[in-house]
Symmetry: C2
Subunit: 226 residues, 2 copies
């Protein structure tokens, strides 16, 4: 099975596990640091409308709506979108990165921004999405990406871009069908952004409140005029 | 003694030690990885003239000249500039970051680029220099910065911007008057660049050839039109 198919297949299979994990706040890094970090970073920019890409069960879309934003969420996994609609109303649609990049998914007008929270897990579909982010974000609009901090990996594995094991490590519940995910060094993230016409405005490295270890990396990018 | 004075005082005091260290290739990370990395990165851009800021005894200026570039070096330590001139001719001048930023140091015309190789050791003078890099680099010109990779520190100390000990650690010779140096997280480097009107074009993370551990960070920046 190619890695992209494996990723989505696993998420389909684990949808209920994932919903329960989020509902019960079982990922402590999210509760302690990274949920607040992405919300605060988004709110610090002049944005009205925002598309939450890979929104899952919708927590971030709801959080941004609670702060007065016109937020809308898309995800490739129907069971997650069903759950998001149950929780928060009809502000969600089923769409993959490819659907967005190719215009299969369309919005009535481009958003001021898009946010992708820990949802860039592969190589090709990520590149496709970023290269075509203008399909959903207006010129001079923003793109927020939160991803695992490379430092978290680098202690245990060679610091090199490539596919890595360990997708469901640390989960409390029994997740099935682990998949490989595509790790990028910071240099390779930067190369990806340059190639996609995205300018880096800001970088955040949210840290653990006690150990001060960096937990994630947030890139704030601007979608340049073509 | 304020930290900036301490840095320059230490370098003045250790000039002969430093020259011997470089002459004898005693810093293995430089020999193995980082010297080549900065030279190759600079050469991959369309540059004719380049200012080596904090050039020390001049190895990088000489290396770039050997590759056909019009390279010129400046350093605040007279003993190092004397040695550079002895080795490579009259392509060097004594100048501090402040001299550059305030126009005390002037070139006949702006350079296509500047390179700062492991010479950004403090807080204030670094900020001043970067904010005024247009004094020596033309609009749309390049700025190359190589610095210790934050990962190298983060294993041993909290990952937080601030003054750190350990300036002469790992040297073979007995260096005197250790000073504190100013560590920045990657996020804070990015904030510094944004604030100075510098766009990130590329990021390199040269790694150790066997362990693949990242040894340094190279930023390639573009000096935006004002």
């Amino acid at each position: 099975m190619d890695p992209d198919t494996a990723i989505l297949t696993s998420w389909h299979a684990n949808a209920a596990n994932w919903i329960a994990t989020i509902d019960h706040d079982e990922i402590s890094s999210r509760v302690l640091v990274t949920n607040a970090a992405i919300v605060q970073t988004v709110l610090s920019y002049p944005i009205q409308s925002i598309l939450d890409i890979g929104c899952g069960e919708g927590w971030l879309t709801r959080a941004l709506q609670a702060q007065g934003k016109q937020a809308f969420g898309v995800d490739a996994v129907p069971a997650l979108i069903e759950n998001a609609i149950e929780k928060g109303g009809d502000y969600y649609a089923v769409a993959s990165f490819r659907d967005i990049a190719t215009g299969v998914y369309t919005a009535s007008q481009p958003f001021d921004a898009a946010v992708i929270n820990f949802a860039l897990l592969d190589k090709e579909e990520t590149e496709l999405l970023l290269q075509h982010i203008r399909m959903v974000v207006r010129p001079d609009g923003y793109l927020f990406i939160q991803t695992l901090h490379p430092l978290v990996i680098a202690g245990q594995q060679p610091y090199a871009t490539g596919w890595k094991e360990g997708s469901w490590n640390g989960m409390k519940r029994t997740f099935v069908q682990p998949y490989q995910w595509y790790f990028r060094t910071i240099a390779d993230w930067v190369k990806l952004f340059s190639g996609a016409g995205l300018t880096i405005l800001q970088l955040e490295e949210p840290v653990h409140p006690e150990t001060k270890a960096p937990m994630s990396l947030i890139f704030v990018l601007q979608v340049m005029q073509e």
